[in-house]
Point group: none
Chain length 284, copies 2
DNA sequence: TCCTCTTTGAAACTACATTTCAATATTTTT
DNA sequence: AAAAATATTGAAATGTAGTTTCAAAGAGGA
């Protein structure tokens, strides 16, 4: 989407090397300046080089300086942030509902901003072309995987979603080049998912990841990287809550994009699925 | 400021020479495209030249193409639309994302409005008091059930979530009065869920339902009725999409409410869960 | 019809984003 | 502690894309 550049920078801060961090700090302090400056300008003003600016853009997962510029421009016209609010003991039902609503919406909005359209497009095409899609996630992410599988099956795309590592390993060991492995892990550091991604990579099977925004083991192994907003999980100890909504949201976008690309086919499949369900249910 | 590019173009329209007007029209129709295209690209796509794009920028009183780009980026960050919008064939990725975002947010907002706080409170107390919670749903709702189970287990509440009707039937047949059966069905007319609810009722086991808003077989059998917004599913044939988010959202509220009611215990449980996971992972 | 003023796009030009690379710092290994 | 491997850095080279120029074509007026 056309915003979120500043948030991306904030989230990446700690993971950046010195020169890029200088640039990052400069930009956070002078976002407006970025819009009217050249890469070299910014480099000099932040007491480092222009190359560092480009490197920062790449570190953020963006395609280049133009991309960053556009996202920052978006940030500058946005109304004030809502932000996440944690839930505290002895809170009323009313305010729990309010906070949950606003946190949920916020995590969807933030994830929207993180979307890299080119990456999304590549994901859609890769999935559309795949013979089989193997979703894999553990715990909460395993549920997202199951959900995604159900969706793909609905539009006639073969998909698996197991949570047994050994089983999946066997599956991938025998997978064809036409298959795609889709690893889901909010933290991006779930060891099971990492192993599966590594195996897929080694076997030359295409991989897609869905993790929180930022550098992580899982995403760095993936050919195509999709992200949910980083902060989703941050504030409440209350277990994976918003992050799950955001993951589903991204999956919805993927699914709907695939469906749109092959619209006619899809409508047909969904209708047939409905018929099949009705048939089983009502026997007619 | 960093916006208003599109409005500028609209205002200038009549005063523009043919070639620039072609560009102007193209931009108004494909503002998103502008952000990822070069001047030459746009020239060609609008059946004229790149030079015309620059001339348009100058005619608008801007300093150049970058300036226009930044302003259009600002324009595209508009507040979310109200209402549901269906997704159509040949839609751009950009607008799929926009519509999915607004539909998702809308379904959460609408579900918030549907909440009956008294019913919510009863649900929370019933669940908190339960010895065992049996979640049950088929298909997409089965995933919500699994998710809910995971959440409850995290806070030390026994919960099951099977999709096998016979298995669940046996479970309920042997359930104690301290148990709760939680039926999930978006339509409220899934026959398997209806049967389970009926069985629970007959056995005198407490029941909670989560369905779309309105009268339905499942909800009418439940002691406590929770709802998601009706319209969630309405507009797109594109399979259960927003409805699922809304269901999760309601579950989040339930979970967080339960967690708040027994805050200290919960924090403790979550920490213990984390420790357990870390232990398994890292062996320390 | 001829002249003047405007518009147009191809090509030349220029500026700036991006890549490369050698030097340097940092971490890991032995 | 030394050596090797790895990561970081900015200056310079490169390539891409924005901008300007200019000759040709078109529009309007005398």
């Amino acid at each position: 989407m056309a915003a979120g550049g500043l948030k991306m920078i904030q989230n990446m801060m700690e993971q950046l090397p010195a020169s890029e961090r200088k640039i990052a700090e400069f930009i956070l302090e002078n976002p407006q300046t970025v819009l009217n400056s050249t890469v070299q300008d910014i480099g000099v003003q932040a007491h480092t080089s222009g190359a560092a600016v480009i490197r920062l853009c790449k570190s953020l997962g963006l395609n280049g300086f133009q991309d960053l510029k556009v996202r920052i421009a978006g940030d500058l016209v946005k109304p004030v942030e809502q932000g996440y609010r944690d839930i505290e003991p002895g809170e009323s039902f009313f305010s729990i509902v309010q906070k949950t609503t606003s946190n949920s919406i916020q995590s969807i909005r933030d994830s929207e901003e993180m979307i890299n359209f080119e990456e999304l497009e590549r994901a859609v095409h890769t999935l559309s072309a795949a013979q089989n899609v193997h979703f894999f996630g553990i715990g909460a992410s395993g549920i997202i995987a199951k959900d995604a599988q159900q969706k793909l099956l609905r539009i006639h795309k073969n998909a698996t979603a197991f949570t047994d590592t050994h089983l999946v390993a066997t599956l991938i060991a025998n997978a064809s080049q036409e298959d795609v492995v889709f690893g889901i892990s909010h933290s991006g550091e779930t060891s099971e998912v990492m192993k599966i991604m590594a195996l897929a990579k080694e076997r030359g099977v295409k991989t897609i990841s869905l993790t929180k925004y930022g550098q992580s083991s899982v995403s760095s192994m993936a050919d195509i990287k999709l992200f949910t907003s980083y902060s989703s999980e941050a504030p409440f100890r209350s277990a994976a809550t918003s992050s799950r909504l955001a993951q589903l949201y991204i999956m919805d976008i993927l699914f709907l994009s695939m469906a749109t690309v092959q619209y006619e086919d899809t409508i047909h499949s969904i209708d047939k699925t409905r018929e099949a369900i009705r048939f089983i249910k009502e026997g007619k």
